[in-house]
Symmetry: C2
Subunit: 135 residues, 2 copies
Amino acid sequence: MISSTRLAVAAHIVSVLASRRGEFVKSRHIAGSVNTNASFVRRILCSLTRAGIVEAEKGKAGGSRLVKCPSELTLWDLASALGEERLFAMHANPVNPRCPISRGIKSSLGKAFAGVENAAHVQMKRINLKDLLPA
Amino acid sequence: MISSTRLAVAAHIVSVLASRRGEFVKSRHIAGSVNTNASFVRRILCSLTRAGIVEAEKGKAGGSRLVKCPSELTLWDLASALGEERLFAMHANPVNPRCPISRGIKSSLGKAFAGVENAAHVQMKRINLKDLLPA
DNA sequence: GCTTTATGTTACTGCTATGGATACACTAAA
DNA sequence: TTTAGTGTATCCATAGCAGTAACATAAAGC
């Protein structure tokens, strides 16, 4: 059911930025905490920047820092910034028009999936990024 | 966030079986409705059989049929039968012991993920397989 | 008993997504 | 002008998904 770990990495990144609130933190430094490479971190930072969660400065004294307070950020904000809001996948096989089940299942199952995803989103909006930081 | 479509296919399979309650339906027939191949269907049927949702008969008059009523089955039962209950993935990168964020994030984020997954599971248990069938 | 036809299972294959690695244009500080 | 960062593109190895074929096993019908 799972493939990408980008949401986990994004949460890690934001936590590092939150622990150095106000500073411009370099992607290399974040990569050291996540134990991955700086380019991958920057790709995710870029999505966060486009979503207005992070701001970045280029150049020698550059880096990234949080725009919003950790207490104003939720897991949902990150997932949404990454475009990872879907939790289920419908099969892509074409409908068999001669089978009533096949004709109807994608619509009804799609609504069921949406209901579950909605419940998950509600919960994700309750998960505050501040709560991920060490006490 | 999504990779496998097995849950969707399983729901499709169970819907077909539900529409022919009592009959032993052949994997080839189900595959025709899903528009995939019979072997893939059988692999999923096998998981459903092991979970006690479906029973199968070998041989010439063989096939699969539901053991439980569609009204007793939920989306959660299917996901659980397939071993697809996780919705999020933690990154596998090793912890950087010199960074307090790195040391703590997997634990706190894991709990956050579990909370969201739990909310999703609750909702999945409310989705009745009977509701996926055509009226 | 033999043939037919189904399941259960394995193995192989092509495709796609993921994340690691490198490179480079651009930019700002020193 | 040099240095050191971001933003972005490209390439690569790997892993997972689903399609396909194959085969042992088992049951029904002749």
